[in-house]
Subunit: 172 residues, 2 copies
DNA sequence: CTTATTTAGTTACATATGTAACCAATAAAA
DNA sequence: TTTTATTGGTTACATATGTAACTAAATAAG
């Protein structure tokens, strides 16, 4: 694949053959990032302007619609957001009246978050949109493809992605 | 945890059964987004502080390392970044001396971008890191899994993700 | 030509995000 | 207990990003 039919004495380029080149469109991290971005934007378009919700805000509502009375740090865990992002999104949601917050009586630092009636109503409107969008996406894949996708995501999610030890190179 | 093994006549919750709930950790767009983020951050850690490069900056260098003398808009196309992001990253790269720019003689609006010698040197350092990280990731997958992954990405990339027509709902 | 239109890129402004510093409450040590 | 460390969350600051408005060059129309 590297050299289609490369005439013998005529190298494509002296300094960089296919093996040492990085082809962005075939680079896995790049592909995942662009695909995921396109999907996220598309789905955000389903609710962002209609409900004035940002992606992190919706994530929090989505979690609290499913499991109620979580603390901010529990929300952070489950949404894979960091605590600062959660804090900010929560305060916006509180300001908009979509969330209710009180604090644990046993630990007065710990917040207890839940959707407000208003938030629940919005949740019930958006959630089917989100699910049907996902269904719409998956509908383009066969059963086996769907299974394979799920399997691969599980595999990749389970990797710890641990850093490769940087080839020693103390040139800093 | 709510009700482990639910006795027959005892509905889990009147208002939301599994079918109408959104389980974030199983929601495809969410899974893609978090996976891709983890990978991007990990890989960015390989070069960001060592070479003082942001992700968009590296993307541009990666493209120009592969194909030289592109215009800003061609870079934008190939990196899937928008032209504003490209403009900003390009000006940072110029400032750091990693890029050279001149303008087309036939169309004086059109920029012609290329890595500077310095940029090329950096490219040659980073690129193997990026590739070996990818290899490291893929090494955890079997040959079939890798093929399936590539196939699925191609499938998903080819979808136009077109918006589902919003169920009419003029409540704005 | 002279005036629209389109195209390439940049700039402005408002908002979002990340990192680190911070405050308050709890838990652990001394 | 008083001191010290840890944990839950928020705030500040610097940087990044998105959208829209804008400049300049090139085309197309009149």
């Amino acid at each position: 694949m590297t050299d289609e039919h490369q005439p013998l004495a005529d190298k494509p380029r002296p300094h960089s053959d296919q093996k040492t080149r990085l082809k962005l469109p075939q680079f896995l991290p790049y592909r995942l990032a662009t695909l995921s971005n396109r999907i996220s934007r598309t789905i955000a378009a389903l609710y962002s302007e209609r409900f004035h919700l940002s992606i992190p805000e919706w994530r929090i509502m989505a979690i609290l619609g499913d499991e109620t009375d979580l603390s901010a740090s529990e929300v952070a865990e489950r949404t894979a957001m960091d605590k600062v992002a959660v804090s900010r999104a929560v305060s916006r949601l509180l300001a908009k009246g979509r969330l209710e917050r009180h604090f644990s009586s046993t630990d007065r630092r710990r917040s207890v978050l839940a959707l407000s009636p208003d938030g629940r109503a919005i949740y019930r409107e958006i959630m089917p949109l989100a699910l049907s969008y996902e269904a719409h996406l998956l509908a383009h894949l066969s059963g086996e493809e769907q299974a394979a996708l799920d399997h691969l995501l599980q595999r990749l999610e389970s990797l710890d992605l641990e850093m490769i030890k940087t080839p020693q190179h103390n040139q800093s």
